[in-house]
Assembly symmetry: C2
Homo-oligomer: 110 residues x 2
């Protein structure tokens, strides 16, 4: 149905999946990496940098913004997009906790 049955899962599981979607597309990975590198950014840069159409970039930016991972401040004609560091760190902790679950488990199978 294309619709995840979120009610079957814990809040933490849904949240991990939710954040994972942020970087489950190479364009968003590239956008986030570029924002970290530049540390101050406008969308125009990104269109040149990434090579997708302006409308497409804008759409990816909106998704990242909805997740809270980036902030966009209007500055005259352009918009300054930046990483929302506090949210990034929150997300990082959540994902890292998920990825590190292997360290506590003894190898017992396969």
């Amino acid at each position: 149905m294309g619709l995840a049955k979120t009610e079957l899962f814990t809040d933490a599981q849904n949240e991990i999946a939710f954040f994972a979607k942020a970087f489950a597309h190479p364009a968003r990975v590239a956008i986030l990496q570029h924002l970290f590198k530049i540390n101050t950014c406008v969308c125009g840069d990104l269109v040149n940098e990434i090579g997708l159409a302006q409308a497409t970039i804008s759409q990816h930016l909106r998704e990242l913004k909805q997740l809270g991972l980036i902030k966009g401040d209007v500055e005259g004609t352009s918009v300054c997009y930046c990483i929302n560091k506090s949210k990034w760190i929150e997300m990082k902790k959540l994902i890292a906790g998920f990825l590190d679950q292997d360290i506590s488990v003894p190898t017992n199978c396969c």
Copy 2:
């Protein structure tokens, strides 16, 4: 078009996005967590544990298998699914590297 333009991005960017899809759905998050907890598993357990239909679980397992994150060994009538630890660690390093890019960047904006 529903089709990511992978040719625009680096191998690393595509790979991060690719692995991120593994846990971009709460059912797969739950499956991976359960496999870590049980450390030896058959699909029947997962159907009871998660609450999705058998066909759906099987489909998620196949995706995880295609990514190399789990292994499935046939044992008579059932199949023993396990985490592929070496692949998991490889994935963890890649994602962690992406998530840790904030530590090297001075706060300079917003």
